[in-house]
Amino acid sequence: MSNPEAGNLSAGRLVVSPSPHIHSGRSTTEIMRDVLIALAPAAVASVIVFGWRAALVIAVCIVSAVFFEWGFQKLTKRRGTIGDLSAAVTGVILAFNLPASIPLWQAALGSAIAIILVKQLFGGIGKNFANPAITARIALFLAFSRTMTSFSMGAATSASPAADAITGATPLALAKIAAQGGEQAASALAHMPSKLTLFLGNHAGCLGEVSALALVIGFAFLLLRRVISWETPVVYVAVVFGLSAAFGRDPVDAVLSGGLLLGAVFMATDYVTSPMSFKGRVVFAIGAGFFTTVIRVFGSYPEGVSFSILLMNILTPYIDKFTIKKPLGGGAA
C-alpha cells in the first residue's frame, strides 16, 4: 500500500455488515415508554376517582410484573428484558383491569400469571399468543369473583344500605339489571350515572376503565406518536355502538361504560396478539366488537371486553393467514 493511512484502515477494524447502515432510532423501549405515557392520564383519573388505594394497586402490579420477569429470566438464564419496559406496561394494564379494593396479593398473583404463565413460558416478549394482562384478569375474575367484582367508590360511595347491589354496581351491571326488568330495574336506572359522569369517570368500575376522557387522551397520544393505528379502536368501538343500539341498549352508555375504551385502545392493539395487516385488524376489531356486545347483552356477565379480546387473540394467527397483504406487483397468491 502506497498510502500509510490506508494501512491503518486495513488493520481489520472496518465493520462490514449488510445494508442499511443507519436506523430511525425508534426502539422497543421507546414504544413501551410511549404506551406508559399514554396510560398516565387514566392512572391519574383512577387516583382521583378511587383515592390513593388505586395508586397502590398500580404500583404493586408494576413492581410485581417487573420482578417476575426479572426473576424468571434470572432463573432460566435468559437475556434480561425488563429494560424494554414491556413488563411495566403489562403491570399497568393489569392494574387498570382490577377494582381498587382488590387484595394486593391477588394483584401480585395476577402479575405472576401474566408474566410467567402467559408471557415467559411462551418465549417472552413477542411470542405470547394471548394478551398477558387480559388473560391474568380473566384468571383472577374466575378465581376471585367476589373481590374482582366489588367496586368501592372511595369518597363517592353512596350511603344507601338498602340498595347494596345497586350502589356498588358498575354502569354495565346497572344496564344489565335495568334491561332484565323486574323490581330492581327502576332503581338501577335511577342510579345510572349521567353520560357526562361516564365520560369523566366518577363512577364504579376497574381502575383504568372509568374515565373515557383520560383514555381518549391516551389514544390521541398513541396516534400522534404512531405507536398504533386508528382502525382497531375505532372499528371496535363503532361495532359495539351499532350493535348495542340494534339490541336496544343505549349506545353511548355502551361505549362509555365498562372496559371498552381501555380494551379497544390499549389491549386490542397489542402488537403481538393482534393481526398485522389493515384488513386483518379490521376483522379483529369487528369480531371483538361483536363478541363484546353479545356477551354484554346475552351473557351472564355484565362485561365482555376481556373475553372477546382473548378470543380474538386466539383467532389472530388465522386472521393473519387469510388477510395476507397483496404486495405491489405480486400476482394472485
Binding site: N3, A6, L9, S10, S19, P20, R26, G126, G329, G331
Partner: protein
C-alpha cells in the same frame, strides 16, 4: 398524487451546494472488469502495455455486458484475478499512472443519426446504470418496438442520505443532461418524458425547470422526499400509476427509467467521443468532517478520495468505523479502503465507529413497522418468521422476490432486526428451493 410508503431518512445533503473538485490523479488505479450486470468485460491489454485515457482495455463479452476503458494514461502494471485487499474475485487491470492524462488516439464524436447509432453509442461509451445498479445502458435502450415505450423517466430523485452527485449533475451538467433529454425525445416516441427530482434539491429543480420551460420536451416533476423515491418501481408507480409485476421489467409496462447522471454521461460521450472514464463521487458521512464532491478516475482507490477529504483514519473515538460504496441505506460496506471506485459508484460514505456498530437485535414484537413502511407492501415480518422457521415451501406466497432491498424495514424496526438481510436470505432460499423442486420434477418426468 400517488405516493407509496417509505421512510423519512435524514437528508444530510451537506455537499449539495459544492461543485465537484477534480481529484489529483492517483499513482495507481485498479479497474475491475465487472462493474456492470452481465458478463464481465474481456481484458484486451496485457502487463507492460502503455495505455491512454479512453482506450479500450476490456471488451464487452456478450449482449448484456459493457466495454471498459482506461481512466488514466500510464502503463499496465498487472492483470490480477483477485482484489488483493478485499478478496473480491474478478479480473482487475492495474495501471500505473503517468499523471499526464493523455487522451487515446481516435477519440472522435460518434455520428448519431438513427436509433441504431444511438444504441451503438451507448454501448461503445461503456456507460452502465450510474445510479448504482450498473445495468448496461445500451441494453436498457434496446427495445423491440419503440412505440411500446410510453413513459421515459429521468431519475434525479437521489433519495439516499448524504449523496449529491446526481444533484451536482443536474446543476453543473444541466446542459449535457438536457442534450440527453433531446436525444431521448428524438429517438423515442414516448407519451411523456419526466425528469423526477426530490423536492429537497431546490437548486436542481430551479435550473432544470428553467430549461424545461424554454424547451418543453420533458416535464420536470418535483416529488416528495420520501425514501426510496428513486427506486425504479416506486418512481414508475408514483409518476404513472403503473405497477411492474414480479419478474418483469419497467419496459413490460411501457416505461424506461434512466438515471440523470447516466443520461448526461451518454450525451457527453456523443458530444466528445470520450467514453466513461471518471465519476463524480460524494464523500461524506459521520466520520467525514470535510465532505466534498470529487471527480475521480474510475479505479481510484477509496483511500485516495478519503485522504483528499482529510478523513481521520487513526484509531479513536472519531475514527473510521465503516466505509460504504454508496449511501447509508443501500451502500455496500467494503473491508478495505483500497477498494476501487467503480462506474456505478456515486458516493463513498464513511461512518464513525459509533454509527458503524452493528446493533444487537431483540425479539420481534410484531409492531408491523416493517410492513407499513415497505414501499411494496411486503409482509416482511412473515417472510422473516417463515424463513427463520425454515418453512421455505410456504415463503413464496409472500412474494419475497419483489423486494428491492431498499432497507426501509430494517431502518424502521424498533427491535433492530436485520430484516433486509432476511429478505435477501429468503430470496436465495426460495431460489434454491425452486431449483430443487424443478430438478426433482424433471427427474420424476424422466423416470
Amino acid at each position: 398524487m400517488r405516493k407509496l410508503p417509505g421512510v423519512h431518512v435524514p437528508h444530510r445533503k451537506n455537499t449539495a451546494t459544492q461543485p465537484a473538485q477534480r481529484l489529483p490523479i492517483p499513482p495507481e488505479v485498479r479497474i475491475p472488469m465487472a462493474m456492470h450486470i452481465g458478463a464481465p468485460a474481456k481484458v484486451t491489454v496485457s502487463a507492460g502495455d502503455e495505455v491512454k485515457v479512453g482506450q479500450l482495455i476490456g471488451e464487452a463479452a456478450g449482449f448484456v455486458s459493457s466495454p471498459v476503458h482506461s481512466s488514466v494514461s500510464g502503463k499496465v502494471k498487472a492483470i490480477e484475478e483477485q482484489d488483493a485487499a478485499t478478496g473480491d474475485k474478478g479480473t482487475f487491470v492495474v495501471i500505473e499512472t503517468d499523471g499526464l492524462q493523455t487522451p487515446a488516439d481516435g477519440i472522435t464524436p460518434p455520428t448519431v443519426t438513427s436509433m441504431e447509432d444511438f444504441i451503438a453509442a451507448a454501448r461503445d461509451s461503456g456507460i452502465v446504470g450510474l445510479g448504482g445498479a450498473g445495468f448496461p445502458t445500451a441494453v436498457k435502450l434496446t427495445v423491440k418496438d419503440v412505440s411500446a415505450v410510453e413513459y421515459i423517466i429521468i431519475n434525479g430523485a437521489e433519495c439516499e442520505p448524504y449523496i449529491t452527485s446526481d444533484t451536482r449533475t443536474m446543476i453543473d451538467d444541466a446542459e449535457a443532461l438536457w442534450e440527453g433529454v433531446r436525444l431521448i425525445h428524438r429517438f423515442f416516441d414516448a407519451r411523456a418524458i419526466y425528469v423526477a427530482v426530490e423536492d429537497n434539491k431546490p437548486e436542481a429543480i430551479k435550473r432544470l425547470g428553467a430549461i424545461a420551460e424554454r424547451e418543453p420536451i420533458a416535464q420536470l416533476r418535483p416529488l416528495p422526499s420520501v425514501y426510496p423515491q428513486g427506486g425504479e418501481k416506486v418512481l414508475i408507480y408514483n409518476l404513472t400509476g403503473r405497477i411492474v409485476p414480479e419478474g418483469k421489467l419497467p419496459l413490460d409496462v411501457g416505461c424506461i427509467v434512466i438515471n440523470c447522471t447516466t443520461l448526461a454521461a451518454l450525451a457527453k460521450y456523443i458530444a466528445t467521443g470520450m467514453p466513461l472514464v471518471e465519476k463524480r463521487v460524494t464523500v461524506d458521512g459521520s466520520a467525514v468532517k470535510n465532505p466534498m464532491n470529487l471527480i475521480a478516475p474510475i479505479g481510484t482507490p477509496i483511500s485516495a478520495l478519503l485522504e483528499h477529504c482529510s478523513v481521520p483514519t487513526e484509531p479513536g473515538k472519531d475514527g473510521v468505523g465503516k466505509i460504504l460504496l454508496g449511501g447509508p441505506m443501500m451502500g455496500v460496506a467494503v473491508p478495505d479502503a483500497s477498494a476501487p471506485i467503480k462506474k456505478s459508484t456515486n458516493a463513498v460514505t464513511v461512518l464513525n465507529e459509533r454509527d458503524a456498530r452493528v446493533p444487537e437485535p431483540s425479539a420481534c414484537i410484531r409492531c408491523g413497522n416493517c410492513v407499513t413502511h415497505c414501499p411494496l407492501g411486503l409482509m416482511t415480518v412473515d417472510i422473516q418468521s417463515t424463513y427463520l422457521a425454515g418453512k421455505i415451501e410456504f415463503i413464496g406466497v409472500y412474494r419475497p422476490n419483489l423486494c428491492m432491498e431498499c432497507g426501509c424495514c430494517t431502518f424502521s424496526c424498533p427491535a433492530r432486526r436485520p430484516l433486509t438481510q432476511y429478505m435477501k436470505l429468503a430470496k436465495a432460499a426460495l431460489r434454491d428451493y425452486e431449483a430443487a423442486q424443478k430438478a426433482q420434477k424433471e427427474k420424476g418426468g424422466a423416470a
